[in-house]
Symmetry: none
Subunit: 249 residues, 2 copies
């Protein structure tokens, strides 16, 4: 088999799956992983792909570039996302935060739903590319590289300009008296801006986070409209929140 044939296979699979693995290619092409590695290096030098540990990804970041970073395996979050989808209605303005839960919601949105989404998350913007009727308004700011979200004062100011119908905010700690809190100062500040810019606030959490608190304050608990967890809606721990007028799902 010619080297060029291997190149074709590699690029072709990359075009299809948006990623290739060394071991897999080694099997398919019947050559050693070393050779595949060398092939990938050569293609990378030509700018045709980007070599990464264990394989390669497309070099020009297309629609799927950020999506592929997500772990979709988490069943809890998937349950939460499915529950959350019921709350979005056609024509709304929605704020999505940068967590993986919100990402799964975006992923699950009907392709023909008309929506305006305000977000500070590259992955979410990337996912919504395929949703033709969704207009994406992206919050500028300083880029947090590992998580691909923007933060900082600019981001906050951007969210403040909106009055959204609904806001999906990922897992923070929620405590009846201590309020909603998060582990990172700047991200918590951004979350507050999101929450304060929205009429309806859907908190996405797991039961373990209920009744706990962390260092940085986001908002009072009674500001939440709904708390979505991965559990049935009739747990005892939910009572205190229900009594505060929060819908538990």
């Amino acid at each position: 088999m010619l080297k060029e044939e291997r190149f074709r296979v590699i690029l072709s699979q990359l075009g299809q799956d948006h990623k290739v693995h060394l071991a897999e290619l080694s099997n398919v092409l019947k050559v050693s992983e070393d050779t595949v590695r060398r092939d990938i290096k050569e293609l990378a030098d030509q700018g045709l792909l980007k070599s990464v540990r264990g394989g390669a990804v497309p070099h020009s970041p297309g629609p799927h570039h950020f999506k592929d970073r997500v772990e979709y395996g988490n069943e809890q979050k998937r349950i939460i996302a499915n529950k959350a989808l019921r709350f979005v209605k056609d024509g709304q303005v929605a704020i999505f935060d940068g967590g993986t839960s919100a990402m799964l919601i975006a992923q699950g949105l009907p392709k023909d739903m008309h929506l305006t989404v305000v977000t500070n998350s590259f992955p979410i913007a990337s996912i919504l590319e395929e949703h033709e009727k969704v207009e994406v308004l992206f919050a500028g700011g300083r880029l947090l590289k590992n998580s691909f979200v923007t933060i900082g004062n600019e981001t906050i100011q951007y969210f403040r300009k909106f009055r959204a119908d609904i806001c999906f905010s990922g897992i923070c700690s929620i405590h009846p008296e201590l309020g909603v809190t998060g582990p990172d100062y700047e991200e918590s500040e951004v979350k507050r801006a999101m929450v304060e810019s929205s009429r309806e606030i859907i908190a996405l959490s797991t039961v373990e986070k209920l009744g706990t608190a962390e260092a940085y304050y986001v908002c009072p608990t009674n500001q939440l409209t709904t708390i979505i967890t991965d559990q049935p809606d009739n747990l005892d721990v939910f009572e205190i929140y229900k009594s505060m007028g929060i819908k538990m799902v």
Copy 2:
């Protein structure tokens, strides 16, 4: 068997399989591998195919759906990017626009260079993820989905907040009297904001774009500091720009 007949067979098989192997052809054509090699060399000289180790592949290689990626390897733009890299200095604040030229520059930046990059392009932000010492400030705004850049008033306002050292702006039309112009209204507006926020402005263009004009105005030509093209710096057409105090590279 005539040489021409062999040529026919080779090209025919190439059209069918997108590849030919020396050993295989040697069998089919009943001639030595050396002869096949020489045949292929001759066809390659005529530009009818591309000779590779062990055989040959079509001259414009690869399936068509990779055209966009192949365009990435565009030699012209690579030349331009290499020239442009000399202008970036450690510690600067740089504005990058959303074109592929600017993308190639970002890609070529030394991994250890300390830099602040302001951009409205997802791909550029993504490329710069690996550059640990580069801080990325991302301009918010309405997301243009197909090209993954933000545009609109918000984007413009974001750029206006900066006073950058250097700005890399991709191919627009450049005319001595009519100024710098572009084919899209909103993108041209954003480009203007970028240009007006920077001390030094490096225009990335090809010689064909020089002396032409399009519908939407970006800035006066003499506002440009440098024009980088894929050609040597001593062309006659460059004189008019040099006389305006613009550095031609």
